[in-house]
Structure formats: structure tokens, C-alpha cells
């Protein structure tokens, strides 16, 4: 596995984490849990933005592995 695909994998699993948090936030009846899920979602979303830039950068660096 190239670095690019590794980072890509991590990126997609972070995306899935974010989506799960959103679904939990909508499901829970507990206002405190709702707030916590919301906060954590915004942290994850920051990480996602950084990682996305890195994914784009890496795909430019390794065009031969681009898919």
C-alpha cells in the first residue's frame, strides 16, 4: 500500500466516524449527549478538512497510483 492509499483509507474512516456521530446525535433523547456528539463532530470535521488537503496533495505527488 502506498502512503497515498493509506491516508485515503484513514480519511474515509474519519468520514464514516463523522456520519455515525451525526446519526447518534439525531437518535439520542439526551440533550447532554446530543451536545457532546455535536462538539466531537466539529472536531472530527476539522481533522477531516486537514486530511482532505493532504489526500489531494499526495495524489498530486503520486500520480502513477491515482485511481
Amino acid at each position: 500500500m502506498t502512503v497515498g492509499s493509506q491516508v485515503k483509507g484513514c480519511f474515509s474512516s474519519i468520514k464514516s466516524v463523522e456520519a455515525t456521530l451525526l446519526s447518534l446525535e439525531n437518535k439520542t433523547q439526551n440533550p447532554e449527549a446530543r451536545e457532546c456528539f455535536h462538539e466531537v463532530q466539529s472536531i472530527i470535521s476539522d481533522i477531516k478538512t486537514d486530511l482532505e488537503k493532504q489526500v489531494i496533495y499526495l495524489s498530486q505527488q503520486e500520480p502513477q497510483y491515482k485511481n
Binding site: 502512503v3 493509506q6 491516508v7 483509507g9 484513514c10 474512516s13 474519519i14 464514516s16 466516524v17 455515525t20 456521530l21 446519526s23 447518534l24 437518535k27 439520542t28 433523547q29 439526551n30 447532554e32 449527549a33 457532546c36 456528539f37 462538539e39 466531537v40 472536531i43 472530527i44 476539522d46 481533522i47 486537514d50 486530511l51 493532504q54
Partner: protein, 286 residues
């Protein structure tokens, strides 16, 4: 009127009166009765018994006596609700048996408790060693309650210094194979949601003996068919695992990266992820 008819009539009417009197006097248990309620109970019982079986007595007298023994305790209880002094008089005060870890022999004597009685009561409270007790009190109802010394108290979440996620009561949404609509709407869910969740678990609602949903919307079920195992809810543990894995990945990238700027970026994000895990993990454990 033949005697047996009269007994029947008396019994039935007093039974009804007694039913309402006990209803009105409240639902305290026998063991929780104070002295006054205890006496009242006995007297009311014997008034009824006498007048039911003894036909020479006059039936109206039974009703008069019953109403006295009903209204006075009822009124006193009402006054006791308002006044602490009356409460102390009618219900009595507790007697402290052990304070600051020391047994108060005077109080034991006052309540005519022998050392063996005290030890027995302590054992009832799972305290086998008197030295482990910080505080013990004889309640007016005759029950001894015990506060163990701090080091002998069971560990609570507070002691460990954890901050647990608050949890609301679960709603029972399926009972005996039928969906219950009111609890479902209490959890702001509907039957469609229930069907989807049951489909995910691959069970039909007719097979569900009991289904409960917690405040986070997770459904747990018990089936009539005990041979089938139902998957336990896995969304939250999977989420936590995914977060931990991404955190580890980010750390790995930070180590592998040679570019200083990228390294910093990965490190910062791995810290952020750790922060997120710390924040959310109380809510992802049950």
C-alpha cells in the same frame, strides 16, 4: 332476620368500609408503620372482627367506632405533614446507636436493645464488624440503618473520579409480541423505525417477548425462542474503535512523514482525535 344473613350483611358492609379506610390511610407497608398506625391497624381490625361475629352488638356502633379510628389518625397524619413537632410526637424520632464509630450504650439501654440485638441488626446491614460502622440509627419504624466508614463503603463512580454520561430511563416498546405505541412516541420513534430495527436484527415482532429502547435509541430485545441469539447493539463500540484506529493511523503518519510541516499537521490532528475520543467515550460505553 336469621343470624347467618345478618353476619353476611355485616361482613360485606364492613369489608367495603375497611377497604376504603385502608385505601385512604395510605400504602405504607407493615414494616414501615409507626406506633400510631400500628395501634390503629390492630384496633380497626378488632372492631370489625367483634361486630361481624357478635350479633348482640349494635351495628351502628361499629361504624361510629370505625370512623373515630379512621378520622383521628387521618387528621393527625395531615397535621403531622405540616408540623415537625406533631410529627415527632406521633411518629417518634430515630435513636442514634453508633456515632463517630462509637457505640452509645445509653441509647441502647433506652431502646432496650441488647448487644446481641445490635450485632444482629448490623449483620442485617452486612456489617459483621462493629468497628467498621461510622453511624447507625434506629428508625421510628424499628429498622436499623447503617452508614459504614468511608473505606468500607462500596466504590462509586464518583470515587474513581469518572464522569459518567447521564442516562434516562429506557422505554419498553415491545411486549408479548405487540408494539406499544405510547412508549414509542415518548422516545419520539414510530412503528416504522421499530420494523426497520427488527429487520436489521432479522427477527419478526411476533417472536419478540420484550423490547426496550434506551435514551440513545438503541433497541435491545428478548425473544420467545431462546435458541436464537440476537446481536447486541454494536454501533457505539464500532464508532469508538474506528476513532481509536484513526487516531493510531494519524500518529503513524506523523512518525513516517519526513516533511516537518506535514508531520506537525498529523501530530496536531492526532491530538485532536485523542481529545475527541476522551470527550465522547463516556457516551459510547454502557
Amino acid at each position: 332476620m336469621p343470624g347467618w344473613v345478618e353476619i353476611l350483611i355485616r361482613s360485606l358492609s364492613l369489608l367495603i368500609a375497611l377497604f376504603f379506610i385502608t385505601k385512604m390511610l395510605g400504602k405504607k407497608q407493615m414494616s414501615q408503620l409507626d406506633i400510631f398506625q400500628y395501634i390503629t391497624g390492630i384496633v380497626i381490625g378488632s372492631i370489625v372482627a367483634t361486630h361481624v361475629t357478635d350479633l348482640t352488638t349494635q351495628f351502628e356502633y361499629a361504624l361510629i367506632a370505625l370512623s373515630v379510628w379512621f378520622f383521628i389518625p387521618f387528621g393527625l397524619e395531615y397535621i403531622a405533614l405540616k408540623s415537625k413537632r406533631v410529627r415527632d410526637l406521633t411518629q417518634g424520632k430515630g435513636t442514634v446507636f453508633i456515632q463517630n464509630g462509637r457505640i452509645l450504650e445509653e441509647n441502647l439501654k433506652k431502646e432496650r436493645y441488647t448487644t446481641d440485638d445490635l450485632l444482629e441488626e448490623l449483620r442485617n446491614n452486612n456489617m459483621y464488624k462493629a468497628a467498621d460502622v461510622e453511624f447507625a440509627v434506629l428508625e421510628p419504624t424499628g429498622k436499623v440503618n447503617v452508614l459504614p466508614k468511608k473505606e468500607n463503603q462500596p466504590v462509586t463512580v464518583k470515587d474513581i473520579g469518572l464522569k459518567p454520561a447521564p442516562e434516562k430511563e429506557p422505554q419498553t416498546v415491545v411486549m408479548d409480541g405487540h408494539a406499544l405505541l405510547e412508549p414509542l412516541s415518548n422516545a419520539s420513534l414510530n412503528t416504522n423505525w421499530l420494523e426497520t430495527e427488527l429487520d436489521k436484527m432479522d427477527v419478526s415482532i411476533e417472536n419478540v417477548f420484550l423490547g426496550q429502547v434506551d435514551s440513545d435509541g438503541q433497541l435491545t430485545v428478548d425473544l420467545y425462542d431462546d435458541k436464537i441469539t440476537v446481536p447486541s447493539p454494536s454501533e457505539k463500540p464500532l464508532l469508538l474503535a474506528a476513532m481509536k484506529k484513526s487516531q493510531a493511523d494519524l500518529e503513524l503518519f506523523a512518525l513516517a512523514s519526513e516533511n516537518q510541516e506535514t508531520k506537525n499537521m498529523y501530530e496536531k490532528n492526532s491530538q485532536k482525535m485523542q481529545e475527541a475520543i476522551d470527550k465522547v467515550s463516556p457516551y459510547l460505553q454502557y
